[in-house]
């Protein structure tokens, strides 16, 4: 399936872009497995997505936990803990 992935704040600066389209392998079905998939892209990605850092996720503009399923066409976002207000 195809999804859109967005990165924000410190994570966006680390990976050096803000958005990409990804055609997911069939075994990637939730946020957890997507993080593991991204972590294999190299050192910067491993550092962000292998669990050493707190990375929050949203699917279609809703905060979700790592077990949330991903569906074709979803907009997935990764970002650090929020600091507004």
């Amino acid at each position: 399936m195809n999804i859109k992935v967005l990165y924000f704040a410190r994570i966006k600066e680390s990976v050096n872009y803000s958005t990409e389209e990804i055609a997911l392998p069939v075994d990637i079905s939730n946020i957890n497995t997507l993080k593991a998939f991204l972590a294999k892209r190299g050192e910067i990605w491993a550092d962000l997505f292998s669990g050493k850092q707190v990375v929050r996720a949203a699917i279609n503009h809703e905060l979700v936990d790592d077990m949330m399923a991903i569906h074709d066409g979803d907009e997935v976002a990764f970002f650090p803990p929020v600091t507004g207000g």
Binding site: L6, A58, H61, A77, F79, T83, G85
Partner: protein
Amino acid sequence: MSVRVQTADFDVAAALAEMRLASADIGAVVSFIGQVRDINDGDTVNTLTLEHYPQMTERMLASIEKEAQSRWNIVNSLIIHRVGTLKPLDQIVLVAVASAHRGDAFKACEFMMDYLKNQAPFWKKESTPDGERWIEAKTSDTEAQERWQQS
């Protein structure tokens, strides 16, 4: 109930006057104004830049307002949050709640700020004399939100 996210400054006076004059059912208006401090973690802050996740921000702020409305008797509420680059003494956020009696307005306003701090997708980066740095989320903010889950 309304939510605004904008780069422009906002007029607290106009916002509060509009809110309180909307109905003579209103006996209490509680508001919170957040502004940029010139020192953070011991360092001088030159500017503060707020990034956000546009479609998600409005949605999350509206859901925070809705949750507050379900918990307390409130007549009206408002959230205005700025994004972009700000400097010390600039206003960042206004949260205001109007209700018949003060208890509801105080609780709903503080609740909205505590949830905004923990759930609304804003991120702050400060520019100091030593360079730029992202502000880390605070445990105290998480704890502030958790208080509301016990009741």
